[in-house]
Symmetry: C2
């Protein structure tokens, strides 16, 4: 049947084998230095001129002949006539022929316009930049296979190099395949998806110095694929195929590569990223990347990037790693290397990493990620609190001003994130949606900056009264209720649920979940009775999106999100939302940023404008716990 | 007089004060997503569409309604008719309306073309990517002040975002000033230098996302400068002036800025980089960078880069640091922060850093550097062997295949460097020219990979016979002798030297120095008698360059370099050159690379072609010490 039989290879082994089989012979071109930024040298670059070319003054002063000063003494200054025996000279000026040393201006006495005095003998060749001090003609100033940076342009220009031999960049065909794909800008119909991987692939290729050749969408038909690969192989140095997400298109890719050339490897033992295809057609590498955005990204980094590196003979950037503490458990299955996306934050001077969504389709989590956590094949993962090494994909410092907020999910946090970003550019907020009790534990263990609590807070608060190091701060009040696509008609919500209306629920321990469970118990509905009882969504927006798309009927949410998705909203209760914050953190720059944001007019206005929110007391301290 | 009176400010303080005084109000423009790579978001980017927009299959299999499978058991399979009750579905296909779960293909039995069998009950909503799993409509997918990477393009396209609001990049005027400057491509006459800093500055500005506006060379005259600054301030958002290296032009810059606006700071307490000028003209920042290439580079990084960061509201890359062991002493004066360029290498699994040339004019050392060692104001430096933190300016890994060769300087090492680079792209060779004894110590202490010895090697070797862990390898034989501009005429070299011919000599402990000292002693010449006896140059090429330029008369060197600089060569002796290498290192990949290079035909041919070299035994082992 449609089942594919692969023999998966470990990632590193597959890459090594593939790279060994690929042979490149890039052409060399000669380009003017002024256009050589970011190109890669093909040969050593040799200085044509020495720098400096003549001896130059390294100080302001007078140029003299050292032997003229031999008799000089503080009580017996030697007078030198300007023009003949001494010449005023500025830093960088060439040394006059007669002179062999410079006396700094501070050590010179001025007699008149024609004479200066020297008070001590001076050695020869002092304060002079000698010929070739910087670069000697004939010296190698850049090695081969070196990516030319702006500073290298400066050295070449100074050393009289006008043209430089560089590798011609590889031309890489990018072929998205799949019947379900539509071009960016077109509105996808049901079952279609916008082709976006091709743009991502082309962007990285350009960053790495290659020339992407985007060939447009090719339908999932062997003949079309064959034609596309054949014409690409003629015109380009490498080919990247990006399968649609269906298993079908992948199979076509394998058989097409097998028909036109040969398949070096199909499938690597990684999660995500497994269905990669590595082939060679007419001596040129052809890489089939999986269709899921995250798998496609990983395959690109694992196999295409090394091809570009091999072409130019240089590594593209180096791995940049950081040791961090895990903020949450990471649990994976064995049998394949797992690549887990993580977001980072700094709490009490320590880096904390949180795993993001796992799905290979979840490109947004990749866009949000700061780095990768690589879990070896035979490893089950780690517990929260353990130390692990993360490979960074963002520059360090990106997470310096990031607020980690555990606890109740709330749309208000989006508005708060916007506010802190406008106060201090680059500051961000990472919500860690979870039950309130769990959020408490994170705060106590220094794995987040603050916790968001909602509802009957005094209870939770009292349980923690002992903790006097924390303070409670008013967030806002919010209206909560039922979101649904249409009126349930003559029946009550309770009846509708009993009759099988599909319910989508918030995660365990959240206030919305607690309220809902109490309400259902009141109505005598046991959750296990209902269809969809096992369907949990992270927040109001995910619930609303599912209801709007018809894959659920009803769920708890807020009026703002319901309106956004064109849903009906039936209010059920109103409650306060509070932050719990360590007192000492509140005095830090991030703590002050939070307080300013909560108390700002623009934050309150923006949140109240959403509807269902009141911010009269936002930012007021309620007191210690 | 011409002496300038500055009140130097500490670097960090000057920067903070300057940045506080600068106000930007960049414009926002809306660009299509496909053109937004590397631009910086001005507002949060919000998803227009959920991803996925409909529930999608996450596995290949059949889509069914879960309740149809309640009765299924291995011994009592439930049959479902295809089309009505079950539909074959591929990963990524939209879920049919009637279905609420997917059964993977492996768990399905095929009865015939019309029916399939299920052997177990399945829960609803399994193997389905729910609506909004990746992104929910209305969700913020990118924060403001975020530099857009290729992966972000993918997320925006998938989420239906077609245009994105980004900051207009700042336009930065780049004005090189100085009468001594000539444009790149022109041949400089005596006293002129090629304008190269402007190209370097423009290159970095472009890398950082700004638009450089190169205004051409402005002569050192107040009127010209005033005009240039005035017109730049009108057209651009920031101005960078790059003084010629003379103190004169700097003074003009200060007075021009003072006349047109105000000077926030003149001079910072750093070495190099001191004479920086920070000013504001008509509300726009004007930065005067020093003329020396290294100072100009540092000033650009210290003051212009933060301006660009402030404009966009984001850090540009993060500091990337590494802990290393010092290979040599670093000694600096107190009173200013010192920035020492270092080159890195890996010896016995440990990173070693070597300080490079100190002069601010020595741009080539900056091009060669891997990073900066920052020495605080009140610090004298460190001893070899101490651990220090280096701020990297090259990607990690750039120094992985770098051969550290201590000892005798020899042009043959250039040829060897070319050979290893052609064998393994990206491998480099860092010569550490020093006396032979000193080289030995480095090798013993694990601060270099191998030592180059020349001349009467058995003596040195015997002193070290105890060290059986090392092996000697033939390098080549070389002819050494006198290099001079012209024939000394009827007199002998000895006579010429006695009469004051200027001699340039190699560093202490090198073979050339030893031979020369012995020869001079033979001739009864005491070095202190001679002019220029204190003039040391690092290698043959620097000596030849000085002689060719007329700033010295004679020195020791090799025929190849003498010919390169059009000098006369009088052979004096021939000697063997050998490498001393630890036995275990020789078995490493770098060790094998060295041996292959020495034994290769192309290396031998290239070196012998230079003239004065013989490579008959290159790469032969001579035996243990």
């Amino acid at each position: 049947m449609r089942q594919t039989e692969w023999k998966l290879a470990p990632l590193d082994e597959a890459r090594e084998r593939f790279l060994r089989e690929v042979r490149f012979s890039p052409s060399v071109e000669s380009v003017p230095v002024l256009q050589a930024h970011d190109r890669v040298t093909a040969k050593p670059v040799v200085a044509r001129r020495s720098v400096p070319e003549w001896p130059l003054a390294a100080m302001d002063g007078v140029a003299v002949r050292a032997e003229m000063t031999v008799q000089a003494a503080p009580d017996n200054p030697v007078r030198l006539s300007l023009g003949r025996e001494a010449v005023w000279i500025d830093t960088g000026d060439p040394l006059p022929d007669f002179a062999d040393t410079i006396i700094p201006v501070e050590q010179i006495g001025v007699v008149d316009e024609k004479q200066v005095e020297v008070f001590n003998p001076v050695p020869s060749w002092k304060h002079i930049r000698t010929v070739g001090e910087d670069v000697c003609a004939g010296e190698t100033i850049l090695p081969p296979c070196h990516r030319i940076r702006p500073i290298d342009l400066g050295v070449m220009l100074a050393a009289g190099v006008e043209k430089v031999s560089v590798w011609q960049p590889p031309r890489v065909a990018v072929i998205p395949t799949g019947n379900e794909l539509v071009m960016p800008g077109q509105a996808p119909e049901r079952g279609q998806i916008v082709e976006s991987n091709g743009t991502v692939i082309s962007g990285y290729l350009r960053e790495w110095g290659a020339i992407p050749d985007y060939r447009g969408i090719v339908p999932d038909e062997p003949d079309h694929l064959i034609q596309a690969v054949q014409s690409s192989v003629k015109k380009c140095d490498m080919v990247v195929l990006n399968a649609g997400s269906s298993a079908g298109s992948e199979d076509y890719t394998v058989s097409v590569i097998r028909k036109l050339g040969r398949v070096v490897q199909h499938g690597v033992a990684t999660r995500p990223g497994k269905p990669v295809i590595l082939g060679i057609v007419e001596g040129k590498p052809v890489v089939g990347l999986p269709g899921y955005p995250v798998s496609s990204y990983l395959g690109l980094q694992w196999f295409v990037r090394p091809l570009i590196e091999k072409w130019f003979g240089i590594p593209i950037g180096g791995a940049n790693e950081i040791r961090v503490r895990l903020g949450a458990d990471v649990v994976v299955k064995t049998g394949a290397e797992d690549f887990v996306r993580v977001a980072l934050g700094e709490v009490r001077g320590e880096m904390v990493a949180y795993p993001l969504a796992k799905g290979a389709g979840v490109a947004s989590s990749l866009s949000r990620a700061d780095g990768w956590l690589r879990v070896p094949t035979d490893h089950h993962g780690w517990k929260a609190g353990e130390r692990v090494t993360v490979e960074l994909i963002r520059p360090r410092g990106s997470w310096e001003n990031r607020l980690l907020v555990a606890g109740e999910p709330d749309v208000g946090l989006d508005v708060l994130a916007g506010q802190i970003a406008s106060q201090i550019p680059g500051s961000t907020l990472l919500p860690l949606p979870m039950g309130q009790e769990e959020g408490w534990r994170l705060l106590r263990e220094g794995r987040c900056h603050l916790v968001l609590l909602a509802g009957d807070i005094s209870v939770t608060g009292e349980a923690e009264t002992k903790d006097a190091s924390c303070v409670r701060i008013h967030g806002w009040s919010r209206v909560r209720g039922w979101m649904m696509r249409s009126d349930p008609g003559h029946q009550s919500i309770a009846e509708w649920l009993r009759r099988g209306a599909q319910l989508l629920i918030h995660p365990c321990g959240t206030r919305s979940r607690q309220w809902l469970e109490a309400q259902l118990a009141d109505w005598g509905i046991i959750p296990e009775d209902m269809r969809g009882c096992n369907r949990v969504a992270a927040n109001d927006r995910q619930i609303a999106a599912a209801i709007a798309a018809g894959s659920a009927d009803i769920g708890i949410g807020c009026p703002a999100v319901a309106r956004e998705f064109g849903l009906l909203f039936v209010p059920a209760w109103e409650e306060d939302v509070q932050f719990v914050v360590p007192k000492d953190w509140l005095r830090s720059s991030m703590g002050r940023l939070l307080m300013e944001a909560l108390q700002s007019c623009s934050f309150r206005m923006c949140l109240e404008m959403l509807g269902g929110y009141r911010c009269g007391k936002s930012g007021e301290k309620i007191g210690s716990l």
